[in-house]
Symmetry: C2
Subunit: 492 residues, 2 copies
């Protein structure tokens, strides 16, 4: 056990500077092979590692080593202790949550960005990273068919992108919020509208921004789990009558539970009439707009104030990369810009990315996105997204035709919501489906997750990994039917 | 020009799945060499590239390619267009802001983390990443000499770590803030105390959290630019008398302008007496506590509620990696945790990292920090931090002995604040120093930044890059004296 052994060899204890160049180069090549081996052979792992909480920590020494250890020892411990004990998001059998891909071009981008250690808080501290971020976001805008006013800003997560959008809405509604905040003077209750199926990040954003979870009005949905515009209009009217102050509407294209599509155009018309900010949460589904035949789901988003989509979800980009597209980026800059003397630079007319959010420091995330878009090309992205949607439709058909299973939501993109319908009282069906999921996931080759729709536990199959093929879905479907039969035989 | 040429070869346009394994492996090795070459040869570049705003974008095609391009073409464009046009944070002549290092072990960690594309929002979606984050933060706690209650949580930046700390303080003061927010009902003005030299991220945090910039009381400093405890006590008393509600004190160890050290123990005593949260911003200087002889600067931080330090600043870890150490992590969890059905998992008693902040998704940052600590070892870290402090003291001595230059602040760590004192009216001395900085920076081998102290423009020399040696400071000092002589000869 290299890890629990001695404190390492006597390297570095008397030295300054970086490690020897030869050792560094050799380790980079060794790591390159580790990554290549991993990407080629990830299917030898179960998607979810078979370990118990604490198993990894139990193998780590309590104290850090006094003396430096060879890079080879670190890489060996990575291969022994870390790689087998991660949940394999890069596994083609990963069908849970929103399935993602850390694609090869994306990994290359991360490696190179780490090497230069770019920190593009200012144009001056990262000219190429700043300009590439602006440029690649404009490429994305073109790919999605959005009009020119939209400009992009890359954040870590959709949670943060949506938080920034709501902060900009808050600032537009209360321009003195920057200086005066929300305390110590009379501010009406600020309200953000989102469907009952909107993501929990909207609540986290309002918690953070001082609006509270009660500052999110959850608007009822129709039978497809999409927001009802009439209910939205009623909620806004109710709040105005009660003296509350509506500030923003969040319309989701591709909700987390079922990838439902809120009626963006209707929500936008209401938002404009009421003078509210329209934020479109397309964190998962946004990349689908690259395909013209899927663009109808997004109708109306071209009139939004802000749109979030995550290349790290369904656009093959390693975690983390969330793009916030803004019709008026100055609205975000107005909400956050602060330029202390130590950040003042001589350049005029440049974008200083730190002015568009709470963080000063910024990683160089545009590089991997540039690589991903170029490596696959617009047509290559379309082909892959279409293949995922076709796989989802195929799986949905299998479910639909199978006695004892049912589809529970439309399949507009690449996620299928379904459940087993055993001959059991309704109250016991949820537990049956939860056991079913646990059995299938324990098998190893696939990983499903769940949600609740209409109060019932529902299984989700999400396609988003670039390596997922029909054979993975066939395996999943076989496992599901076998486990359902087994569990059904066990129940009276 | 590969970039502006045709749309690339016809690869990927009809294909699904990942790029060919052989091409991926070859590209990873090519990128490994690019990084190794860069780290070995970074000094061939001027620290700040000699380009004008827009130069990079002008070389990029307006539209993304329709068809996929070979990975080799991407790497070639990186080498041609990006690498020469970044500000070289990994250059040993980078002496601006806080100098940092994306060290070799850290780069390896980033590469491997990208390969597995870990997303440790839940223990279940990242068992090893979750446990390694907890464990390596505990290593860091031990290295710093902090007591056991402290547990770490890794964020992207100190801006976010401090925001979370203040959010936890806000929640402790107003437990219903999660649900009720700060609007629509009477909430007294909430006040956070920080020195007049505290970082602008504190203001950004209060803007975000709905306290506004007026929710930060800037406490006057003494002649060393450290917060005056008497002034802090007075400010708190004033606010209480005026009906405002103090919630937190931010004490900085290593301010951004001059690395001044606020009296943490005195601030902490006041915070305890007043029932306020004590947050210690040691984003830059924190790693210095690894050296016992420097630990006196931190006296009292062991009683803080929260401490932030950034391994991506002075601990050789690539951007981004900020560690928030919390005495009571549950206070943060209480402020942010939300568990919708689709995130519920069967495991009990595990840490689900998404519950400790607004973001759901999380990169695997612990891997690079694990590698950095192990590659250098505790003693190797100490040796390198001591070398940086010794270099700073040497430079400070040169300045101190030189007629026409003066030191303007103590040098407790690795940053020197100084200025030229030309025979000019005081009103013209700032412009002289700004020209001096511009001339030195234009030379290429070094990069300095500036700040203002007591209303005067001051130059900053910051040592933090692992490759910075005495010869780089000698070059800087020669450039400074030559430029000062040249500029002095030009002025009447």
């Amino acid at each position: 056990m290299g890890e629990k052994g001695s404190g390492g060899r006597d390297r570095g204890s008397q030295e300054t500077g970086e490690l020897p160049a030869g050792e560094v180069r050799a380790a980079l090549h060794r790591a390159a092979d580790l990554v290549a081996d991993y990407l080629e052979g990830v299917e030898r792992y179960p998607v979810v590692p078979r370990i118990r909480p604490g198993d990894v920590r139990a193998q780590l020494p309590a104290a850090p080593p006094e003396r430096g250890e060879p890079l080879d020892a670190l890489l060996a411990d990575y291969a022994r202790l870390i790689e087998p004990n991660v949940t394999h998001w890069n596994h083609p059998g990963f069908l849970a949550y929103f399935a993602t891909t850390g694609s090869a071009p994306g990994v290359l981008g991360e490696l190179l960005a780490a090497g230069i250690n770019a920190q593009a808080m200012l144009w001056r501290t990262g000219p190429a990273p700043t300009e590439l971020e602006e440029h690649v976001c404009d490429w994305l805008r073109r790919l999605l068919g959005l009009p020119e006013p939209f400009r992009g800003h890359i954040n870590d997560t959709a949670s943060m992108s949506s938080l920034l959008a709501i902060a900009a809405a808050r600032h537009r509604a209360l321009p003195d919020v920057r200086e005066q905040g929300l305390t110590g003077h009379a501010v009406p209750r600020l309200v953000v509208y989102a469907s009952e199926h909107a993501h929990s990040s909207i609540d986290k954003a309002t918690i953070t921004l001082g609006l509270g979870t009660s500052g999110v009005r959850r608007v009822p949905c129709d039978a497809t789990y999409a927001m009802r515009p009439v209910a939205l209009a009623e909620a806004i009217a109710d709040d105005r009558r009660a003296g509350r102050r509506p500030i923003a509407v969040v319309a989701t294209v591709g909700t987390t539970s079922s990838t439902a599509v809120d009626p963006v155009a209707a929500a936008g018309a209401l938002a404009r009439r009421e003078g509210l900010w329209l934020h479109v949460d397309a964190a998962y589904a946004g990349p689908a707009a690259v395909c013209p035949e899927l663009r109808h789901h997004f109708a109306g988003w071209e009139d939004a104030d802000s749109i979030v989509l995550n290349p790290h979800k369904w656009m093959f980009t390693p975690m983390d990369c969330s793009v916030l597209l803004l019709r008026d980026p100055d609205a975000l800059r107005a909400a956050f810009s602060l330029v202390p003397e130590y950040l003042r630079t001589a350049e005029r007319g440049v974008t200083n990315l730190n002015e568009y959010g709470p963080q000063l420091g910024r990683r160089f995330r545009a590089l991997k996105l540039w690589f991903v878009i170029r490596a696959y090309g617009a047509e290559g992205l379309r082909t892959r997204l279409r293949a995922h949607c076709a796989l989802a439709r195929a799986f949905a058909e299998w479910v639909d035709r199978e006695p004892g299973f049912e589809l529970v939501a439309p399949v507009p993109f690449s996620v299928v919501c379904f459940r087993a319908v055993p001959h059991l009282p309704p109250a016991e069906q949820d537990a049956f489906n939860e056991r079913l999921m646990a059995e299938v996931n324990a098998a190893g080759p696939v990983f499903l997750s769940h949600t609740k729709l209409d109060g019932r536990l529902v299984l989700r199959l999400a396609i988003g990994n670039i390596r997922t093929e029909r054979r993975h879905l066939e395996t999943c479907w076989t496992l599901l039917r076998e486990a359902a039969a087994r569990l059904g035989a066990q129940t009276p």
